[in-house]
């Protein structure tokens, strides 16, 4: 517990430093990439608990992100302006912003229970189809909500709260807030993994019948994993909404869910490090390819490269970049040659 508080402090200071550095010295477009990467990391690390750790194939993650985005956006608009109305953007207040994120996470988490409790009784393909359906239904229901702007969604979503001493682009706050939650989700995911609950989840993935026979309540544990993922997808949605200042239901199509799956598969299902690596690659790839696309006049090249990358990966390294390993000091030490213990 004291370590947790110290760690959180360190996270806040670290993210503040990163935020300051980036807004002082780095061009806005690169900061934008970094923010998109951060959002992807939150999504991927959360979903990894479900798909990687517990081995339940869910592809409705965008649905939870959508719910978080709309709940957080609406709450923030009402807190900041009192009504949905045109006008200049303002910064959300600190307490209100945190409350909005909490609403988003909790709304998505509660939905996670509602969807997960029945859906997680399904296996394999059936679970995949059910979660995919959930994501699409959520999006379509949101499109039909005139009070939430219908297909055009919500606009004029406040900026993230100002930080003392920070300035620059976007009030110089988004990196701080996004990476603070990147930090939080990584710490919590690693802690979950390295606990009796994490072992229970892995046990379910490895052999569900044996896990149950050992007294692991698999139905309940799967819902726990699902809610963890949903909660952080909700937070990511709220951060996204505050970052873009507008959200549309179509920001959360099945393609986005599949993108997150691609991140996990690429990085290595079951590894937090892999999820992070996958999020970086999949988020950057279209950005890096765009100049080439434009130069050659080939639209959609990035989709082709995506597909090729995935196929290559499946053929040559089906376990993903990291497999189930984590980047740790131990692994780093093993990778550095000449530091191996001499054996007689």
């Amino acid at each position: 517990m004291p370590r947790t508080i110290a760690l959180l402090m360190a996270g806040i200071v670290g993210c503040y430093g990163l935020n300051w550095f980036l807004s002082e010295f780095i061009e806005v477009v690169y900061v934008d990439y970094l923010n998109l990467i951060g959002l992807s990391i939150i999504l991927a690390v959360g979903l990894n608990v479900v798909n990687g750790l517990t081995g339940q194939f869910s592809i409705g993650h965008a649905g939870f992100m959508a719910v978080g985005a709309f709940v957080g956006a609406l709450a923030s608009i009402l807190f900041t302006y009192g009504e949905i109305a045109a006008g200049p953007l303002e910064h959300a207040g600190l307490a209100q912003f945190l409350l909005c994120l909490l609403f988003s996470g909790v709304a998505a988490g509660v939905l996670g229970v509602v969807v997960g409790a029945p859906a997680l009784r399904l296996r394999g393909d059936y679970l995949a189809i059910a979660t995919l359906g959930f994501g699409e239904i959520t999006r379509i229901l949101l499109t039909a909500q005139d009070s939430l702007g219908g297909p055009t969604g919500l606009k004029r979503i406040p900026k993230m709260p100002l930080l003392p001493g920070a300035s620059g682009w976007d009030g110089g706050t988004s990196v701080f807030w996004i990476y603070l939650f990147v930090f939080v989700v990584i710490v919590l995911a690693v802690r979950l993994q390295r606990s009796t609950f994490g072992r229970a989840l892995i046990a379910i993935r490895e052999n569900e019948l044996a896990a149950e026979t050992m007294g692991v309540p698999s139905a309940r544990m799967k819902v726990v994993a699902f809610v963890f993922g949903a909660f952080f997808a909700g937070i990511a949605g709220a951060l996204y909404a505050h970052y873009q200042h507008s959200v549309r239901p179509d920001d959360f199509t099945a393609v986005r869910s599949i993108e997150v799956i691609v991140m996990l598969v690429l990085g290595g299902l079951g590894s937090v490090t892999g999820a992070v690596a996958g999020a970086v690659v999949v988020t950057l790839l279209p950005q890096l390819l765009r100049p080439i696309e434009e130069a050659l006049g080939i639209d959609g090249l990035s989709m082709v490269v995506y597909a090729l990358l995935l196929v290559t990966m499946m053929v040559f390294r089906p376990q993903g970049i990291f497999g189930q390993r984590e980047l740790s000091l131990k692994l780093l030490r093993r990778l550095i040659p000449g530091r191996r213990k001499e054996s007689p």
């Binding site: 802690r191 606990s195 072992r199 229970a200 490895e206 896990a211 149950e212 050992m214």
Partner: protein, 254 residues
């Protein structure tokens, strides 16, 4: 003395096949009970009904005086019945130690937030599980493999790890499904000693399914013989060995 495990008219049908037909078992606390029979006799199916994997078509299972029928495997495990599997079911990607720790999970008295926030309770629970698992690995002679992934274990060790994991649930009754399958003579002798120590030192009642007659006859006090789902004999090893019906079932083929 009342039986720890008692089944009455236990029957299960798969389509037209009556895999287990009116099986009555009565296992006293502290007993080392053997269940034998040719391949396909229905022994594993009996285990599956005892542990909540299959719902019996007819008949009842009572464990510690409580009705088991209708409970799922998690509930049965939490009643104090644990088992191993004929086709080994380990958690391959977890380490040997972690496999055994998973057995102790059901006794964890902490919630998720203890682990996420790393409270003192989390660390105490981890220590409790690690100590317990390590002691059981020592008991099963696996302590120097504790850090290996379970998938890296050789066959005989995998069977022993399954037993260690089952013991970590602190069962009153341990059900072993052909634990000696695939072991050589030396390993079998070691295993026989271990099974006896589980009963004598850990005071756990053991229900043993085993193909190896010598092993069963050497350590069990009561043996029941199944053939085509029906009980054909029940008694002490000496009685069973001289029972013409049993000799026929085992030697007559079928």
């Amino acid at each position: 003395m009342t039986a720890l495990l008692e089944t009455r008219g236990l029957t299960i049908r798969f389509g037209g096949l009556c895999a287990v037909d009116c099986c009555d078992l009565s296992i006293q606390p502290g007993q080392l009970f053997g269940l034998i029979g040719p391949n396909g006799a229905g022994k594993t199916t009996v285990f599956n009904m005892l542990t909540g994997v299959y719902l019996p078509s007819e008949g009842t299972v009572h464990f510690g005086g409580k009705l088991v029928n209708g409970r799922n495997p998690v509930q049965v495990a939490r009643m104090g019945m644990s088992r191993t599997f004929q086709n080994i079911r380990l958690f391959d990607e977890l380490s040997v130690l972690e496999n055994a720790m998973t057995g102790a999970h059901q006794h964890a008295r902490i919630n998720l937030f203890d682990s996420l926030l790393r409270t003192g309770r989390h660390f105490r629970e981890e220590e409790r599980q690690r100590d317990k698992a390590y002691r059981l690995l020592e008991f099963m002679g696996l302590e120097d493999r504790a850090g290996l992934p379970a998938k890296a274990l050789p066959y005989g060790h995998r069977r022993r790890l399954e037993i260690a994991r089952a013991l970590a649930t602190e069962p009153k009754l341990l059900c072993l499904d052909e634990p000696a399958a695939g072991m050589n003579t030396g390993e079998k002798a070691d295993l026989a000693k271990l099974i006896r120590r589980i009963r004598d030192e850990l005071k756990i009642t053991v229900l043993l399914i085993e193909h190896d007659m010598k092993l069963v006859m050497g350590i069990c006090e009561v043996v029941q013989v199944l053939e085509y789902g029906k009980t054909i004999a029940r008694g002490t090893p000496a009685e069973i060995q001289s029972n013409p019906r049993v000799i026929e079932a085992y030697l007559g083929g079928g």
